[in-house]
Structure formats: structure tokens, C-alpha cells
């Protein structure tokens, strides 16, 4: 792998109570690239993604084994609040807060102690520009975020995540609730974001993974319904020259 490792898991297992949801996953995710996680429904893609910002901590009864690191630091030893500032997340369904557009983007910075009006305004503008939403909303930042279209809401959520200056952005099927045109805009946006951020994206959509990612991890379920890693590598190799039969079957649409 030619670039710096940003995130890494080694022999990582996750349990819901007695049920093993993820089994022995080892992956190195490079900085400033887009890494896609693909796989059939229920194989634990989202659960795996939520490892990196420890969102699984919110679910009672979850237990993990193995190592997960951010820049070589064990993420389970970092303060979880600080970890989530460094590792932002965009969810499957746009989830803007019932506040104004401005307050949505300013929410994170405010929570981290920025209250100076001019500085907040600067952060909001920069974040909205980076999320390719500024030109559409600059004249009504006071408008409720819920009045935006689905695609705009999702870009607002991306802007909200960018506003706290994360290093990694996790995206959990960020376009699955959007129409094809809005999807395309999100994909274009993700391409521009990788210059500044490391991006990990879960997707159901094979074409999306193929055209929008640099690396691809393919997860599947074993007989006990635990998710495991089948294959991981540069997206080009995964899609043109998969090493495993299962990968080939999946990407050609034979199952999943």
C-alpha cells in the first residue's frame, strides 16, 4: 500500500451479547483515499463502519475483541468524545436537526467551545462551500434545515460533519435515500473531499463502489451469520480481477 495508514483493525471481532456479528477482520485504511465497504445485506458493513467512531458503544451488550487504531493509537483508549470529533459520520438517512441551516452547521463548533459570531460564520461558510451547498443556501441560512430537499439535507449533514474539522469521514450508504441526480452530486462531492479527509463509505451500490472508491473491502456472512472479510484491495483489482470466487459472484450480481 503506497500511502499512510489512517485506520487499522486487526483480528477484530464484535459481539451482540452472545451473537458474534463480526469475525476476525483485519484491514488497513489509507489516508486521503476513499475506501468502500461492500457486501450483502446483514453482513455487518454498518456495524463495522461504526467501529471507527465507536457508535457501537451506544448499543447495550456490545463487546469487541481485537485491535482498532487511528494513527496508530488504540481508539478504545482515546476519549470517545474526542475520537468522534476526529472521525465524523454521515448517516444513511439525512438527519439534520430541526434548527436553521446555520445552527445545524454551527452546532458542532459551538459544542466545542466556539461562540464568537464572526468565527462561527466563517466556519459555516467554509463548511457549506466544502459540501457544495453554499451557493444554494447562502441567502437563507436562517431557514429551517428541514425545508431543504433530501439531497441538500445530506450535503448539509456533510457540512455539519466537516465543521468540526475531522480527519476521517465515515459514510453509511449516504446516497441510498436519494434520487440518482442527488446521488451523483454526493459522489462528486466525495471525490473532492478526499484531498483533505480520509473517507470510508459503506455502499449497497456496486457501481458506486466501482466508480467512486480507491480501495474496496468485501464483507460476507459465514454460516453462523457473522460478518467476515473476504477480500480487500485496490478497487480496480477487486472489480476486474477478484481473487475469490465469492467476490466475483457478488460483483457480477449472481447473489446479494
Amino acid at each position: 500500500m503506497e500511502s499512510v495508514v489512517k485506520l487499522e483493525v486487526q483480528d477484530y471481532h464484535l459481539f451482540y451479547g452472545d451473537f458474534r456479528a463480526l469475525r476476525g477482520i483485519s484491514v488497513q485504511i489509507p489516508a486521503h483515499h476513499i475506501t468502500a465497504i461492500i457486501g450483502p445485506s446483514g453482513c455487518g458493513k454498518s456495524t463495522f463502519l461504526r467501529t471507527f467512531n465507536r457508535m457501537n458503544d451506544l448499543i447495550p451488550g456490545v463487546r469487541v475483541e481485537g485491535q482498532a487504531t487511528l494513527d496508530g493509537q488504540d481508539i478504545f483508549e482515546v476519549d470517545v468524545v474526542e475520537l468522534r470529533r476526529l472521525v465524523g459520520m454521515v448517516f444513511q438517512r439525512p438527519n439534520p436537526f430541526p434548527k436553521s441551516i446555520f445552527d445545524n452547521v454551527a452546532y458542532g463548533p459551538r459544542a466545542h467551545g466556539v461562540h464568537e459570531r464572526a468565527r462561527l460564520a466563517g466556519i459555516v461558510e467554509r463548511s457549506l462551500r466544502d459540501a457544495a451547498l453554499w451557493d444554494e443556501v447562502k441567502d437563507d441560512l436562517g431557514k429551517s434545515a428541514l425545508a431543504l430537499s433530501g439531497g441538500q439535507q445530506q450535503r448539509l449533514c456533510i457540512a455539519r460533519a466537516l465543521a468540526v474539522e475531522p480527519q476521517v469521514i465515515l459514510m453509511d450508504e449516504p446516497a441510498s435515500a436519494l434520487d440518482p441526480i442527488a446521488t451523483l452530486r454526493i459522489e462528486e462531492l466525495i471525490q473532492t473531499l478526499k484531498q483533505k479527509y480520509t473517507i470510508v463509505i459503506v455502499t449497497h451500490n456496486m457501481q458506486q463502489a466501482a466508480r467512486a472508491s480507491d480501495y474496496t473491502a468485501f464483507l460476507m456472512m459465514d454460516e453462523e451469520r457473522a460478518g467476515y472479510l473476504v477480500e480487500y484491495g485496490p478497487t480496480r483489482d477487486i472489480f476486474t480481477n477478484p481473487r475469490h470466487k465469492q467476490t466475483e459472484d457478488y460483483i457480477t450480481g449472481r447473489f446479494g
Binding site: N53, M55, L58, P60, G61, V81, E82, L83, R84, R85, L86, G88, M89, F91, R93, N95, P96, F97, P98, K99, Y107, G108, R110, A111, H112, S144, L146, A147, C157, R160, A161, V164
Partner: protein, 308 residues
């Protein structure tokens, strides 16, 4: 023009009536709706008759003097109701300012924090007990709260018959109402809001205060409004904690007489039945007004928070 390779044909119209009881089913439908309609009308009629009776009986005595002069006591219930209106207002403010923070706080704890106690044995059990207690308290007759308030606040704590004793006892009565309604409002806040906030690196408290509570505010306000109505109309609790003096309370340690209490005294201890009805009419109007105002405010708030 269509290619010769395919075409869609019409089928002969061959449907037949397959059910013979169709007329009967239509008839049953009409009867059922007629009965339901009747039930609806009856319910509304009862309400209208009660309110109309009180208002019509009371309206004879309602005039500026009735509203603006204090009661003067006596067997014929001399004077107006001015001090009882003011006392009611004091009582509402004091009771709500005790019950609302406690109740909303307890609801936030139960919904936002206690949920994480799952699998932590004893604490989880304790939270279960609290929740059951709240359910139970909501069903306890208000005179029980009154007697409790009399025993604890009036007697044991030497607060006497006073606004403070009454407000504390009233707050006990309101707590389950506020807690349950606020819990419901908080539970209705989508999990995605909480996740969205936590994912930005906020603490749980920042999430609760910054996103969850604002989103639940219309529901929480409604619960507080319901409580205001409850305080205004409650009689049993205040009968044994507030005393009965119709003078204006000078501090939270003086006793007093709320409108509902005044109504009770007028009806039971005097011959001034019409004045009791007049007080009742004003009581109803006040409660309706409060509901209208707060409905309006919470709709405005909801629109501002969530609206287009």
C-alpha cells in the same frame, strides 16, 4: 402501429355477483355508523350541557364588581372573587415552578440516561421501580396527596396551611403527569438526532440539551400546560393544605383560597349558589383560555423549530 408479433386482447366481460349477503353487509355498515355517530353526539352533548348550565347559572352574578372585589365572607357569600383569582395565580406559579423542573428532569433521566443501565443489575432494577412508582402515582386519588401534604408539609415540617405547603403537595400530584408526558415527548425524538449529535463529538449532556430537549419541547410544554389546568381545577389537595382564608396571601407561608376552593366553600357553606356557579364559569373560561394560548404558543414553537 403495432408490430405483428404481439398484441393484448380484451377479455369478455364475464364477472358475476359472487356474494349474496351484500345488502345485509351494507345494512350492518349503516347501523354501526349510526350508533357510533350517536355515541359521539351524546358525548359532546353532555359536555355542552354541563358547561352551558354552569355558565348560564353563573352569568347572572358575573360583573366587574364580582371580578374586582374580594370575598367578604358570611352565610350569603358576600363580595366577589378577586383575591381567589390572585391566589390561584400564585398557586399555579409556585406549584409549576416546583413540579416542572423536577418532572422534566426525572423524565430526561429516565429516557436519556437510565436506558444505559440495562444489564447493570441493581441500578436497572431501581430504575424499573421508579418507573413503576410513577405509573402507580398517576392513579392515586388526589385527596391522598392532600392528606400526605397535610401530614408532612403542614404538620411535620411546620409550614402550616400555606401556599408553600399547598404547592409542595400539588407538585407531588403533578409529578407523575409531567414525568409521563415529558417521557413520551422525549421518546418521540428520533434516534437519528441523538446519533447525529453524538457523532460530532458532543457529550451526552450536550446532545440532550442541544438537540433532544429542543425537539421535545412542544410536548414538554403541553405537559406543563395540562398541569396548569390541573392546579387551577384541583380542590381536594388544597382543601387540606392551603387553608381557607379569603385574604390575599402576603407571603408563601400564608394560607389562602384558590378559585376552586372558593367555589367549594360557597356551594357547601353558604347560600350563595349562584356565586359558586359564577366562580365555576370563570374557572372554565380561564382553563379554556390557558389551553388556547398554550396550544397556539406550542404550535408556533413547533413550526419555528421544525417548520418550513
Amino acid at each position: 402501429m403495432q408490430d405483428a408479433g404481439w398484441r393484448i386482447e380484451h377479455r369478455d366481460r364475464t364477472f358475476v355477483l359472487t356474494t349474496s349477503n351484500l345488502a345485509w353487509r351494507h345494512f350492518a355498515q349503516r347501523v354501526a355508523f349510526a350508533l357510533l355517530w350517536l355515541a359521539g353526539i351524546m358525548a359532546v352533548a353532555v359536555l355542552v350541557v354541563v358547561v352551558a348550565y354552569v355558565v348560564l347559572q353563573g352569568v347572572k352574578v358575573i360583573n366587574p364588581e364580582f371580578l374586582l372585589t374580594p370575598p367578604r365572607g358570611g352565610l350569603s357569600g358576600e363580595g366577589g372573587i378577586s383575591t381567589t383569582v390572585v391566589t390561584t395565580l400564585y398557586l399555579v406559579l409556585l406549584t409549576i415552578s416546583i413540579a416542572a423542573p423536577l418532572g422534566v428532569g426525572a423524565a430526561i433521566y429516565l429516557v436519556e440516561y437510565a436506558g444505559q443501565m440495562q444489564g447493570q443489575g441493581r441500578l436497572a432494577y431501581l430504575v424499573g421501580v421508579v418507573r413503576f412508582g410513577v405509573e402507580l402515582l398517576a392513579g392515586v386519588p388526589s385527596i391522598i396527596f392532600g392528606l400526605f401534604g397535610y401530614a408532612l408539609f403542614v404538620t411535620a415540617m411546620h409550614l402550616g396551611f400555606s401556599l408553600l405547603s399547598a404547592a409542595l403537595a400539588g407538585a407531588c400530584l403533578l409529578l407523575p403527569v409531567v414525568i409521563r408526558a415529558s417521557e413520551e415527548a422525549l421518546r418521540a425524538v428520533p434516534r437519528s438526532f441523538r446519533e447525529g449529535s453524538l457523532a460530532l463529538g458532543t457529550t451526552q449532556w450536550q446532545t440532550v440539551w442541544g438537540v433532544v430537549v429542543p425537539a421535545a419541547l412542544p410536548g414538554i410544554i403541553t405537559s406543563v400546560v395540562l398541569s396548569v389546568g390541573r392546579v387551577i381545577s384541583e380542590t381536594a389537595v388544597f382543601y387540606v393544605t392551603l387553608g381557607g382564608s379569603y385574604n390575599l396571601p402576603r407571603s408563601i407561608l400564608s394560607g389562602g383560597r384558590s378559585m376552586a376552593l372558593h367555589l367549594y366553600y360557597l356551594a357547601m357553606d353558604t347560600r350563595a349558589f349562584e356565586k359558586a356557579m359564577g366562580t365555576g364559569a370563570i374557572l372554565i373560561v380561564v382553563i379554556v383560555l390557558i389551553n388556547l394560548i398554550i396550544n397556539f404558543l406550542s404550535h408556533r414553537l413547533a413550526a419555528r423549530l421544525g417548520g418550513a
